[in-house]
């Protein structure tokens, strides 16, 4: 198991290095640079700025300086926000995104497993048809539509009660987190429901389920002890990338609900070619994704004994 984790970690470090390099190359291929946005910069000031940020050096040298700083945990200073460290931006805003993302994933996983199991039990009957219709809706409707609908619902709810019980936007209390995480998790929940359903239907035809019935076990016991645990494996597999996707992809929902998450900076930085922020957030998100995948691999090992030893 230790070797298994160690192997994953080494592969993870290589992956992150790859992400950093690819981002660096792609970023420098984009025409222009971070200083281009400033109006009427005289060549002297521009040269000074280039000197200050090291942009006048050859690209390969910049790359090695950058990788060197990154290894020391220093992502540099933002170009567009005066003297703000990229590390500070991540430290201030990532926990917000992470909290929102984690809640959304919890919600998506619990819902997906529950609804998936239910549809499998009621296969081709009314509950299955209704839930699967909603699932298609959840997969095809973009999250900003749900976000707007969610806000509308809250507005109506609050006006019905006569006071603001659940805030419509903003960040702070657990009440603020409720609707955005629900909206953010909806797509993933729909995805997991479908996955869980097909997985449950596959497992129910397995020979060991027949054995369990021949042993005289009740349907409930077979469901919980034999079917669920085996059916959940594919769901756990996709959970890792999904955690990362939700946490990093939440900026639309963050924008609609006015949540001070990292997503906004990520998008802004790309628009403004803020080299250091692009690199910092991308590498950070990349590392986060890799870590989530490793975490899921480890959890997987606990659920499926076959993985543990191989």
């Amino acid at each position: 198991m230790l070797v298994y984790i160690l192997k994953r970690l080494i592969a993870g470090v290589i992956t992150v290095w790859f992400i950093a390099t690819a981002t660096f190359i792609a970023m420098h291929q984009v025409p222009g640079d971070p200083l281009m946005n400033d109006k009427a910069v005289s060549p002297e000031i521009r040269a000074n700025l280039e000197e200050k940020y090291g942009l006048n050096k050859p690209v390969t040298e910049q790359y090695f300086i950058y990788i060197g700083n990154m290894l020391r945990g220093d992502f540099g200073i933002s170009f567009t926000q005066q003297n703000r460290q990229v590390n500070d931006i991540i430290r201030d805003h990532f926990p917000v995104s992470a909290t929102l993302g984690l809640l959304a994933v919890l919600f998506a996983a619990a819902g997906g497993i529950l609804w998936g199991a239910l549809t499998a039990i009621y296969r081709n009957r009314l509950p299955d048809i209704i839930i699967m219709f909603l699932v298609i809706l959840g997969i095809s409707v973009p999250s900003f539509v749900f976000a707007a609908l969610g806000q509308l619902t809250l507005v109506n709810l609050n006006s019905l009660v006569g006071r603001s019980i659940i805030p419509v936007a903003g960040w702070g209390s657990i009440w603020h987190m409720l609707m955005p995480s629900l909206v953010l998790g909806l797509g993933t929940m729909a995805l997991l429901t479908r996955l869980m359903r097909s997985s449950m239907l596959e497992v129910i035809n397995e020979d060991y389920i027949r054995t369990a019935r021949a042993k005289g076990l009740s349907t409930t016991r077979i469901f919980f002890k034999h079917q669920l645990r085996n059916a959940i494996l594919p769901v756990v597999t996709v959970l890792g990338p999904q955690i990362a996707a939700i946490t990093t992809g939440g900026f639309v929902v963050e924008l609609v609900f006015a949540i001070p998450g990292l997503g906004r900076y990520f998008v802004q930085a790309v628009q403004q070619l803020d080299y250091t922020v692009i690199m910092g957030t991308t590498v950070f998100y990349g590392a986060f994704l890799v870590m989530m995948v490793i975490l899921v691999d480890i959890v997987y090992g606990f659920i499926d004994p076959r993985v543990r030893l191989s």
């Binding site: 060991y208 054995t211 019935r213 021949a214 009740s218």
Partner: protein
Amino acid sequence: MQITETPILEVNNLAVEFATHGGTVQAVRGVSFHVAKGETLAIVGESGCGKSVTVQALMGLIPIPPGKITSGEARLDGQNILNLSPRQANQFRGVKIGMIFQDPMSSLNPTMTIGDQIGETLKVHLGKSQGEAFAMAIELLEKTHIPEAAKRARQYPFEFSGGMLQRAMIAQSLACNPSVLVADEPTTALDVTIQAQILELMQELQKSENMSIVLITHDLAVVARMADRVAVMYAGQIVEAGSVDDIFYRSSHPYTLGLKIAMPSNKHDRDKQLTPIPGSPPDLFMPPAGCGYFSRCPHAMSICRAHLPGVTDMSDSQFSRCWLQEAGAPDVPELHQRKNLPEQQVTATTGPLDAG
């Protein structure tokens, strides 16, 4: 062989069909047999003849729908087990009848230890605690000669070999001391040396536990070794049944003859080609009006096509479902025919025309 005591398991006129998109398949068409205490009944036949469906129907393992038991009854110790509620059925499954399957590799839950899976039966049916059940599971594994049973009980199915898994399956099926063990092709997925070991184990446990065995197989060598009595199934019906000697030495149905001829041998006639039965079984979406074996039978007569043969008793222990057992039928030298028997040996008779 006269059956004196009441049989432990008795099946009468069982019929099972499946509704599919292509129509209704009549998988089992009126099967009757009985199993006495401590005896082994082998049900033989080729793939798709309904032998597995028959025993799965008994165990209530057929998904309903699409499956449907259209007629018949099955009595276990006198109690009909085909019309039970799921709760009632769970009181005999795994308790009075244990079952093992063809592929031990896929028949055990991959995410549960062997000991827990065996112990589960004990917990559910005998109300044992986790600790007691696990200890008993280890004893059961020892009974099936699994070395280092205590260590093995903590392992998962993927850590076992096929033969060991089938031993574990047997241990699991024996947990509640069943009176009948249903073995659905228990050695088909195993290699030959392991097959022999598993069969030996089954025979040993049958004696020590005083069980009856219903053995489903298509391997006549296994039949010869294990069975007291044999039922030969074809196209959803039992075409011939009798003691193991009746079937091998006094075959009274052309299909049984065909099976015997098709048996490969490693002793004689090495250079001889294998003689299969030509053709394929009839389409059970539309079962033939006459004998199911008609199209493949080398001795088929015109009556065989249109009319289903009735049951002819060959002796107290043997019956056949073939028009060649009719009084005026032509002689078939290799077939054991009733009309050639000395008069006094023929006792009970059911005229084929009465039954058909």
